[in-house]
Amino acid sequence: MDAAMYKALSGAIAQSRRLDVAAQDLANVNTSGYKGQRLAFSEVLANRLPTSERPGGLVAVGSQKTSLTQGEIQTTGNPFHLAIEGEGFFVVRTARGERYTRNGSFTLKSDGTVVSTNGDPVLGENGPIQITGGKMEVAADGSVRSGEGEVDKLKIVRLKDSRQAVKEGANLFSTALTNVQLAPEATVMQGGLEQSNVSPIDGMVALITIQRQFEAYQRAMGLMDDATQKMIAAGTN
């Protein structure tokens, strides 16, 4: 009896976790370069109990995956807006080390360094990119030209295992250095930004299913409670 109650409870908790993740995605439907998240649930066993008494059927968050599908590219006409078509990440140098992002909304610092909106330098293959001479042109292969000629090539990397990507906020991802490899074949588009890949429709459907499943678990718990109550009543009569 108790075991069944806890199974339903674990299901309800899992649904509230799903809601937290869905709300995060929906809050970021208009965040450039944002990548939605998926949760996978798995059955867990209560390890502390002897094998014969393990209830089974308890549900918990097994893993979470960032969905790295391409977002739509919206043209903005700003030369400092860059978007990657296909796989790859821009690399920025933060105080905590190199971080990876799909949000190519960059700007310029007073000394000519190309920086992210947080002020972190965007890296080329030879370090931070310096623009002198009035303009910046980025070719499809990521090579950057300023008014005074070729400057550098944007450093674009790929993650060997995208499941190891950790979101840090501010559109940044971090991962172990061993998980990173250069992606020289990536295509860069200048004058556009990649939109969030979260679909509001999927989000709406998710909200409805989460709520209904949560209710179902609640009903199940209520019914079990009723049954227990009746049993107690039968015993006392």
């Binding site: 309800a12 509230s16 976790r17 809601l19 937290d20 993740v21 869905a22 709300a23 995060q24 929906l26 809050a27 970021n28 439907v29 208009n30 965040t31 450039s32 944002y34 998240q37 390890n47 968050v61 893993s63 979470q64 903005t76 006409g77 700003n78 030369p79 400092f80 949000n103 909304s105 700007t107 310029l108 610092k109 007073s110 000519g112 920086v115 909106t117 947080n118 009035g134 303009k135 910046m136 008014g147 499941r163 190891q164 950790v166 979101k167 840090e168 906020g169 501010a170 559109n171 172990a176 509001p200 989000g203 709406m204 909200l207 709520q211 949560f214 609640q218 718990m221 209520g222 409670d225």
Partner: protein
């Protein structure tokens, strides 16, 4: 239930987008106006389970579990896409075809920059903006001049009554920036340089990548009504869906409350 607060940040973000779209739409007829957009970022994440950590059985968890806290606006950026050129026939209306800004002397003495080239003549014959701020370098038209011609390279010449030869009275200079999106908006169609715009590079129209001047035209606002309307729809729907997430969270809490029947 984090979802409540997360969705609230989403709603705030959409409200800000609406403010910016409204400002764009209010300036759909403002000559030289450049539309803005808002830049968003996701907020910090809480790590509930680190990827690569060991699970109890001594096996590695392939992917972690992180829950975020919503989104926030980080910047508004002007988009310096060219506006349509509109013919006015007024000889003091100037449009820049290409890159560059007119330099305007503010009363404080500082130079501000604008794309709005609807100039007027003040009592002393100087070319001024609608607010009376003079063009820099100053161009003065003689009192007895009958017509004004502005060349593509910015040369201003006038015909004086009783004289056959046109007389050159000055040259309009333009300025450009490496990153115009980094300019600071001042209102009155004026922009100020900032740390991220880079310093102004002055020059003659048509040279060093600067645009050329066209007399008798003004550059209209680059706000595209259709695009803004689509923006409004997207913003409203995003606002609705975030409010829906709040409702879902609320109703789930209500459901949880109903577990205990009194």
């Amino acid at each position: 239930m984090r979802a409540l607060w997360t969705a609230a940040t989403g709603m705030q973000a959409q409200q800000l987008t609406l403010d910016v779209i409204s400002n764009n739409l209010a300036n759909v007829q403002t000559a030289g106006f450049k539309r803005s957009r808002v830049d968003f970022q996701d907020l910090v994440y809480e790590m509930l389970q680190a990827p690569g950590a060991s699970s109890a059985q001594g096996q590695e968890i392939p992917a972690g579990f992180q829950v975020g806290h919503g989104s926030r606006a980080v910047a508004t950026q002007r988009l310096f896409i060219k506006g349509d050129l509109q013919q006015t026939g007024n000889s003091l209306d100037l449009a820049i075809e290409g890159d560059g800004f007119f330099q305007i002397q503010q009363p404080s003495g500082d130079i501000a920059y604008t794309r709005a080239g609807a100039f007027k003549k003040d009592s002393q014959g100087r070319l001024v903006t609608s607010d009376g701020f003079t063009l820099d370098p100053e161009i003065t038209l003689p009192q007895n001049s009958t017509s004004v011609t502005v060349g593509v390279d910015g040369t201003v010449s006038v015909t004086i009554a009783g004289q056959q030869q046109p007389q050159q009275v000055g040259t309009i200079q333009l300025a450009r920036f490496t990153n115009p999106a980094g300019l600071q908006s001042l209102g009155r169609n004026l922009f100020l340089p900032s740390q991220s715009s880079g310093d102004a590079t002055q020059g003659t129209p048509g040279q060093d990548g600067l645009g050329t001047l066209i007399q008798g035209f003004v550059e209209s606002s680059n706000v595209n009504v259709v695009e803004e309307m689509v923006g409004l729809i997207v913003t409203q729907r995003a606002y609705e869906i975030n409010s829906r997430a709040i409702r879902t969270a609320d109703e789930m809490m209500q459901t949880a409350n109903n577990l205990v029947r009194v």
